[in-house]
């Protein structure tokens, strides 16, 4: 019965989520599924891995499907974030963690979408979550391949499911994980490890204990607006193909149905209110969900997501090093408790009651969207609803910080929120300064030429790819070194510009001083000291050649600064 119910729940989830790339099969095959998923993902995710170019988009785009530019621009810039790596290690999800943490995260170090990370964390926290792991596996696979024995058989291969999965995967990588979560969750209710598992898959708080749906939900929300699932569909189908519909196709069908349904509902709406998560109702009925749900719902519904936290007191099954059998056992147990709370009731107030109902019912009721975020209380920690919500929030924030850490260059060794924030602030400030400087530069340069938009576009695109020599020092290195320009720049300005003779001279001096300042920064960053000097001289010569009379003025302070910069 338990297994049946779980599968049924899965199907419901599928229906709701629509795009469940991860339809998970019965509990029994969880472990195998995971392996299978990982294997599958390997195939499909292999292409994803290399694309990381340090951009979140890269990760994500690959993940979702390189073909589709995920939902419009950077909607979901986060790809399979490295966070998973962090998350998994931090979580004691045993089996899941081991396999996922080691392998996958390494591959996709590029910051994936924050939401993705959060969702992944949640999934990983589960410990076993074959479904979630499948999702993640797709992302991580390349690394975790060896770890997970490919036995993901339960993915329903019916075409409708694939469609839904595709649709579901529209949302950035975070979506995928979100999608996976709802499915996995239903089975692994008991496994969700810890709080923070707020998964908000497509705007719907996935009920995966320990899944961070909130962050995911947010990202999803943003992504949802874009609604560019075309590419995703292809990707999703990719994953789907690999999955063998071992489970009764009916179940998967149902799941995908529910997923789709939930997805569809969410899409038109502001965001999915975590229908998927509702589907992934986990068993965990033993605990007093009511309080958790209430507190969580209140907090999590800030974004319009109905989330319900579910905690499992004293259940650290997730943390225990779950082997496959162990997980399956847990899954079975959870499965019995799992139930899909009905209804897509976007109000968080219903969470409480539905949570309770779900707990006891543990039937595969009609796939309703329950927007619950199940959070499991860690062993020895307070199980107060407020503290749990706080914990979820903290974990979400730490997830995002980790993602940012990958984004900001030179922050890999920085530990601590305060220092990290300082680095982020410095980086943003330096980027904004660069924009200001470049706009000034463009203001001086532009009037000299005729504008040919088409030609400019073509040339610009080519030049931006080729990274012209003059810009070389700026592009890669500017982000690296962003110490304040003020000291050097002000010194040069005061020294070199005693009077304002004419605008061109002033501009050249300003730009020259800025260039020298920036070049000094480059040197400080110790990237390519020799080349910087050359680059700087090239740029300076450009200015000098355009106005020979200023050349001496320009090169003077520049050489002085160069001499100062070179110790």
């Amino acid at each position: 019965m338990e297994i049946d119910m779980k599968e049924k729940d899965k199907l419901e989830l599928e229906k709701r989520n629509g795009d469940n790339s991860m339809n998970y099969q019965s509990a029994g095959s969880l472990t195998s599924d995971w392996h299978f998923a990982s294997a599958n993902i390997d195939n499909s995710a292999l292409s994803l891995v290399p694309s990381h170019d340090g951009q979140m988009n890269a990760c994500r785009g690959d993940l979702v499907g390189a073909a589709s530019s995920s939902s419009a621009s950077m909607g979901e810039p986060f790809g399979p974030p490295v966070m998973w790596d962090h998350q998994t290690s931090s979580q004691n999800t045993g089996f899941c963690d081991i396999s996922l943490g080691t392998g996958t995260l390494v591959g996709m170090t590029t910051g994936g979408p924050v939401s993705m990370r959060s969702s992944i964390d949640g999934a990983l926290g589960m410990g076993w979550n074959p479904p979630s792991s499948v999702l993640r596996n797709s992302i991580f696979l390349p690394n975790a391949h060896g770890i997970l024995p490919p036995s993901l058989s339960q993915f329903p291969a019916d075409p409708a499911f694939i469609e839904r999965a595709a649709r579901f995967s529209c949302f950035n990588s975070g979506n995928i994980s979100d999608m996976a979560h709802p499915f996995g969750m239903s089975e692994a209710m008991g496994h969700y490890s810890r709080g923070g598992g707020m998964m908000q898959g497509l705007q719907e708080p996935f009920v995966g204990s320990g899944l961070k749906l909130l962050s995911v939900g947010q990202a999803q929300k943003n992504m949802m607006h874009e609604g560019d699932c075309s590419g995703e569909a292809s990707i999703a189908s990719l994953h789907m193909d690999h999955m063998k519909p071992e489970d009764s196709p009916l179940k998967s069908e149902r799941k995908s149905e529910s997923l789709v349904r939930s997805q569809d509902e969410v899409k038109p709406g502001m965001g999915r209110s975590g229908n998927d998560s509702d589907e992934a109702e986990f068993c965990g009925s033993d605990q007093d969900d009511a309080t958790m749900l209430e507190a969580n719902a209140g907090k999590l519904s800030a974004n319009g997501l109905n989330s319900k936290k579910r905690k499992r007191n004293g259940q650290d099954t997730v943390h225990s090093p779950g082997k496959g059998s162990q997980l399956s056992a847990e899954v079975n147990k959870d499965g019995s408790e799992v139930q899909h709370k009905g209804g897509k009731s976007p109000t968080s107030t219903t969470n409480k009651t539905s949570g309770k109902n779900g707990k006891h019912g543990s039937k595969a009721s009609d796939p309703e969207k329950e927007e619950y975020i199940h959070v499991r209380a860690r062993r020895g920690q307070a199980t107060n609803s407020h503290s749990l919500a706080e914990r979820v929030r903290r974990e979400k924030i730490s997830e995002r910080m980790k993602f940012l850490q990958d984004l900001v260059p030179g922050c890999s060794k920085v530990t601590g929120k305060a220092v990290m924030l300082d680095e982020i602030i410095n980086y943003v400030q330096s980027l904004q300064r660069q924009v200001e400087f470049l706009s000034m530069k463009l203001a001086t340069v532009n009037p000299r030429m005729d504008f040919n938009l088409e030609g400019l576009l073509a040339k610009d695109i080519l030049t931006s790819r080729a990274v012209p020599s003059a810009s070389l020092p700026f592009s890669p290195d500017l982000p690296m070194s962003y110490p304040p320009l003020h000291p050097s720049q002000s010194g040069l300005v005061t020294a070199g510009f005693p009077a304002m003779e004419n605008h061109s001279d002033i501009l050249r001096r300003t730009i020259g001083s800025q260039l020298t300042s920036i070049s000094r920064e480059f040197k400080e960053s110790a990237q390519l000291p020799g080349s910087w000097n050359d680059e700087l001289h090239n740029v300076i010569q450009m200015y000098a050649s355009s106005d020979p009379q200023d050349s001496q003025e320009i090169t003077g302070p520049i050489e002085a600064s160069n001499m100062k910069a070179e110790p």
Partner: protein, 145 residues
């Protein structure tokens, strides 16, 4: 570069160059009445605003910071200065407050959303800088030849 980053870059480049052309071509009012130095300053400010607006449009309105940027641009154009800088989060001190000041619309967000928006904003800023640098190089190199 990922597909989305490339798409964003292309989108931004197109918009930015269009506004650049619009800024540079009608030079009638700036060259005659004002001092030469101010002309450049004013034009650079316009270019900077155009760059941010182009990026905000290219990135899409599903992001809070793009919406905040565009609404700020719209209100500024109408000569209205709304002090929404510290509307929601009550002038938070320290680093978080600084970050809120840097990211458009940051004062209204809570910490989790702020970090997420910051990440996306940083990515877009990097693209913006890269494109502007390429445009500037292109212009300066072609003008010097």
């Amino acid at each position: 570069m990922s597909a989305t980053t490339e798409q964003l870059e292309r989108n931004f480049t197109h918009r930015f160059l269009t506004s650049l052309r619009r800024i540079n071509s009608p030079d009638s009012k700036t060259t005659t009445t004002h001092a030469a130095g101010l002309v450049i300053r004013r034009r650079s400010l316009r270019i900077k605003r155009a760059a941010y607006s182009s990026m905000a449009r290219a990135a899409g309105s599903h992001r809070a910071w793009t919406r905040a940027l565009l609404s700020r641009a719209r209100s500024q154009r109408r000569r209205q200065q709304h002090d929404v800088h510290r509307r929601r989060q009550g002038r938070e001190m320290g680093r978080a407050g600084k970050l809120r000041g840097l990211v458009p619309g940051g004062s209204r967000m809570e910490m989790g959303q702020l970090l997420e928006e910051t990440a996306h904003y940083v990515q877009c800023l990097a693209v913006q800088v890269r494109v502007m640098q390429a445009v500037a190089d292109h212009f300066s190199s072609s003008s010097s030849m």
